[in-house]
């Protein structure tokens, strides 16, 4: 579904990603792990077109994304939840969702479908986004991305700084997306969170793909992760 082929990207003249190739299938969760500065967020930003790739290609289904302007990429069916949530703080929960729905041309049915996944948000529709708790903000960021009706999702550390109950709620929603056939690429730092939800795991090191394995293989040999995470 989502195919990243020999992708090179960076900032200015400095290349951060040196030719990374990854595939995420329909209904699969691929977790991307690595130390700080390994290039995980750069990879997501390059896939979304926020950084102009220096080489390589990105495909979503039959659509080549790296040739599109950044604002056209989400309309191909690619949702993105960046690190730090980045909500429209001054807008209410309902208005945040509305902006997402308008972008995806989704109607009330999609809105109800999304809100069914996040009952806490349904109770806070008129509340301004900046007044939500951290976990609720993350839910809203995820809900807004789902308002596009995506075929693939990119999540950048969705459980960062959240309490266990919130992490569980978000994990459930991500698993539900997988069950619905969405391809999910998630950047995660916490090994426990990864093992509880991932199908496959890829490790990035210094801008290169160091190793790729199934989650089952990693569960059987957790020490292999230490090499790439520095713990």
């Amino acid at each position: 579904m989502l195919r990243i082929a020999d992708l090179r990207a960076g900032y200015g003249a400095a290349e951060v990603l040196h030719g990374v190739s990854l595939d995420v299938a329909r209904g699969e969760i691929l977790c991307l792990m690595g130390r700080n500065g390994a290039g995980k967020t750069t990879l997501l930003r390059a896939v979304m077109g926020l950084l102009a790739p220096m080489g390589g290609a990105v495909w979503l289904g039959e659509v080549r994304l790296d040739a599109l302007p950044a604002h056209r990429v989400p309309r191909t069916g690619l949702g993105y939840v960046p690190q730090g949530r980045r909500l429209f703080a001054g807008l209410s929960v309902a208005e945040n969702l509305e902006v997402g729905l308008m972008a995806g041309q989704g109607g009330d049915a999609l809105r109800d479908e999304v809100l069914a996944l996040f009952p806490r948000l349904r109770d806070r529709l008129r509340q301004r986004a900046e007044t939500l708790s951290g976990g609720e903000q993350q839910m809203l960021a995820l809900a807004r991305a789902l308002c596009l009706g995506p075929r693939a999702l990119l999540l950048d550390e969705p459980t960062e700084g959240l309490q266990p109950s919130m992490i569980a709620a978000i994990r459930e929603v991500v698993a539900a997306q997988r069950a619905a056939g969405v391809a999910v690429l998630v950047v995660e730092q916490r090994l426990d969170a990864v093992l509880s939800v991932a199908d496959r795991v890829a490790f990035l090191e210094n801008g290169r793909l160091a190793e790729e394995m199934t989650a089952d293989a990693l569960r059987a040999d957790r020490a292999r992760a230490d090499r790439y995470l520095g713990v």
Partner: protein, 310 residues
């Protein structure tokens, strides 16, 4: 529904004021309504799209000179003159937007200021047509619309009210439409809006053209109703005043520009009756408001009383 009732209520109150206000305040309010229309235009760009322009004097003057020169040199009637003025503003704002929106933040302020100054200097330079610094008085014959004499106080007030009502309701419709929501979202976090699939540059362009065209409509009507077209209206003062009015009234609220314009107009009017140093009074009040109501008058109303105020 409540919001629409509030805005229609203001229009009704202004219509009622036409019948009861003494001549002095009647004349003042007509002027305030036209200037508030300039502020409403400014607010679309600054209050909703989050772009601080220092060039709205150019759009105001484009409307005023487009109308004035059409009437004076081309012999157009009032209606055609007003249309030419508004069209001039739309074209000028589209040209400025195409170039200035390549920048953002402080650079955007500087670029818009430079364009406005270029416009001001062009008016002075082409004095053979514009009468330079001195400006020109519109011939009485060009100030009649559908048989109505726009220079008569009563007609002038109602024409100002018609402009203001149109701009107010148009602003309300724009900011409550999906377009307005996206503008606010761009103001909050432009990259995120792009990541939801919006062409943010096209939205900002549309906002700037709408804003500039509304400012030009105010300029064209101002020149027509008060019968004078002058370079003062293209000076930097007319870029800064709408910013002040909007800040005072409450940026990003539909009623704020009117409240701010009215407040500032009467503050200076009353202050100048007390002392020749009336700007000192205005300055102290402005500092006080900035300290105690940083979101402006209607911004405070929104914060304290009515969270959903558009």
């Amino acid at each position: 529904m409540r919001a629409l009732a509030l805005h229609l209520g203001l229009i009704a109150a202004l219509l009622a004021a036409h019948f009861i206000l003494p001549a002095y305040h009647h004349g003042n309010l007509a002027r305030v309504m036209v200037l508030a229309s300039l502020a409403l235009g400014y607010n679309l760009l600054f209050g909703y799209a989050g772009l601080l322009s220092l060039g709205h004097a150019l759009f105001f003057a484009a409307g005023m000179y487009g109308m004035g020169m059409g009437v004076q040199h081309l012999g157009l009637g009032a209606g055609a003159g007003l249309i030419l003025g508004i069209a001039s503003g739309a074209v000028v704002s589209a040209l400025v937007a195409a170039l200035a929106l390549r920048t953002s933040g402080v650079a955007f302020m500087i670029v818009t200021l430079m364009f406005a100054q270029a416009g001001f200097l062009a008016i002075l330079h082409f004095g053979a047509w514009t009468r330079g610094d001195e400006g020109f008085v519109l011939a009485q014959a060009g100030r009649s619309l559908f048989g109505l004499d726009l220079s008569a106080p009563g007609t002038r007030y109602l024409a100002a009210l018609a402009l203001f009502s149109t701009c107010l309701l148009l602003s309300l419709a724009l900011v409550r439409a999906p377009f307005g929501r996206v503008l606010v979202a761009i103001r909050e976090n432009e990259e995120r809006v792009r990541m939801l699939g919006y062409d943010t540059q096209a939205h900002r362009f549309a906002a700037m053209v709408a804003s500039g065209t509304m400012a030009a409509a105010a300029g064209a009507v101002y020149g027509m109703l008060f019968g004078y077209v002058g370079a003062t209206f293209a000076s930097v003062q007319y870029s800064i005043l709408p910013l002040l009015w909007v800040l005072l009234g409450g940026a990003g609220t539909v009623l704020g520009p009117f409240i701010g314009t009215l407040f500032m107009f009467y503050l200076i009017d009353l202050g100048s009756g007390l002392t020749t140093a009336y700007m000192l009074i205005a300055g102290v009040v402005l500092v006080g408001l900035t300290l105690f109501a940083p979101q402006g008058i209607m911004g405070e109303v929104r914060r304290r009383l009515w969270r959903g105020l558009p």
